[in-house]
């Protein structure tokens, strides 16, 4: 997936405002954790576990979790 497209989609999923890039901090609540699980499953056909998302503090952490090879 194109990273710019990913940022746009992620921003909508998390209902965040402002510019998003890999350094953007993300604070996952219960609802946004659920939204990320659905987003990754739907777009990457990959299951991320709730426990793995506990270590996600910024967008780069999420990209790493999904797998850098899945981005262009």
């Amino acid at each position: 997936m194109d990273k710019r497209f990913f940022f746009k989609e992620l921003q909508e999923t998390l209902e965040l405002e402002g510019k998003m890039d890999e350094t953007t901090q993300i604070h996952l609540t219960s609802l946004s954790t659920l939204a990320i699980i659905a987003f990754v499953d739907e777009n990457f056909e990959k299951r991320v576990k709730v426990a793995d998302l506990k270590n996600v503090n910024k967008v780069a952490d999420l990209i790493k979790l999904i797998g850098i090879e899945n981005f262009s």
């Binding site: 609540t29 219960s30 659920l34 699980i37 659905a38 739907e42 299951r47």
Partner: protein, 330 residues
């Protein structure tokens, strides 16, 4: 055998999103509806129990069914009046059913209606019963902390009564059931049993979203439950279709446990079920746990969404973890 009749009962007290938004100012009424698809939920009075609701809904179903034909009661609840005696035994007496009626409770949540149908089928097939009264009745509101906005928004109280009768028809087809007790801590009331007794001094804990809970109350780990659901429900639906030698195309309608809008939207898309054959309506009731499926089924029959001869896939899943699915023919 077939499902001969269904009725449901919702308590009189209604909590709408505006009331929740008043109690939790950070939780806007529109946002609640957008996220979970619930506008109102019914809540039992302080002195109204799941057994009281079971009596009420059974009395409604007996307005058009001879109660003396019932020879077995199955009562599904996780909010019993007592540890003992069994609520179903008290229900037999309150309804004035014959003393040769078998009766038992079973403790399941959102998979409860499916398991109830499976038990009823077994009782009838085994020549143990002819007409089974299956009651699902739940008052989760009594388990939920008053300051837990997430769970108060999602769950509603309610009861449903279903009569399953012996007949020439094959109205209850093949089942697929499953269990994974490893998920026990993700939907639990920790205190109140004998592992950890109710503790009046239990300290409140506030989570990241501002929900207040303590160990005497219901805890739900929403993301873990969602994770469990997306992992288990699509294969469950596939397996029950295979067992019945059917496909989504040959099924007339699909009714899943009405957990919340977000989860249902996601499951429908993932399983590629057309919106026209997928039930989604919890706006007026919320998640009534074991009663969401019979409430939905009654709604579909009344609206003519499903008709005589329709093949309907039902699936329930949740606390335990426990899950089950079946195909019925109306």
């Amino acid at each position: 055998m077939h499902i001969a009749s269904i009725e449901y009962y919702l308590p009189e007290i209604i909590v709408d999103n505006a009331q929740l938004a008043q109690e939790f100012p950070e939780w806007a009424a529109e946002k609640i509806f957008d996220k979970i698809g619930i506008a109102r939920r019914h809540v039992a009075r302080k002195d109204e129990t799941a057994l009281d609701m079971a009596v009420k809904v059974s009395e409604v179903i007996f307005e058009n069914y001879d109660k003396n034909k019932i020879d077995f009661i199955l009562l599904c609840t996780q909010s019993p009046d007592y540890f003992l005696p069994t609520s179903a035994c008290i229900l037999q007496e309150k309804l004035g059913l014959p003393k040769n009626t078998g009766a038992l409770d079973f403790n399941l949540g959102c998979s409860g209606f499916i398991y109830g149908l499976a038990l009823a089928k077994g009782l009838i097939t085994g020549n143990i019963a002819n007409n089974v009264l299956l009651v699902t009745s739940e008052t989760y509101s009594k388990h939920i902390h008053l300051k837990d906005k997430a769970n108060r928004s999602i769950f509603g109280d309610g009861a449903a009564a279903t009569i399953i009768s012996r007949s020439e028809r094959n109205g209850i087809l093949e089942f697929e059931l499953g269990t994974d007790g490893n998920g026990m801590n993700n939907l639990i009331v920790p205190n109140g049993g004998f592992r950890a007794k109710f503790n009046i001094d239990e300290k409140d804990i506030v989570d990241d979203n501002g929900n207040v809970r303590n160990n005497n109350c219901l805890w739900m780990n929403g993301p873990e439950i969602f994770d469990f659901t997306i992992e288990n429900v699509p294969p469950l639906v596939t397996r029950v279709l295979e067992k019945n030698m059917l496909s989504i195309e040959t099924i007339d309608y699909v009714i899943l446990h009405q957990a919340n809008k977000y989860m249902l939207d996601y499951l429908r898309k993932k399983m590629k079920i057309p919106p026209g054959k997928f039930y989604q309506n919890m706006e007026e009731t919320g998640n009534t746990v074991s009663s969401t499926i019979p409430i939905a089924l009654k709604d579909c029959i009344e609206k003519g969404t499903v008709k005589s001869g329709s093949k309907v896939l039902l699936a329930g899943f949740g606390v335990g973890y426990s899950w089950g699915a079946v195909v019925i023919e109306i």
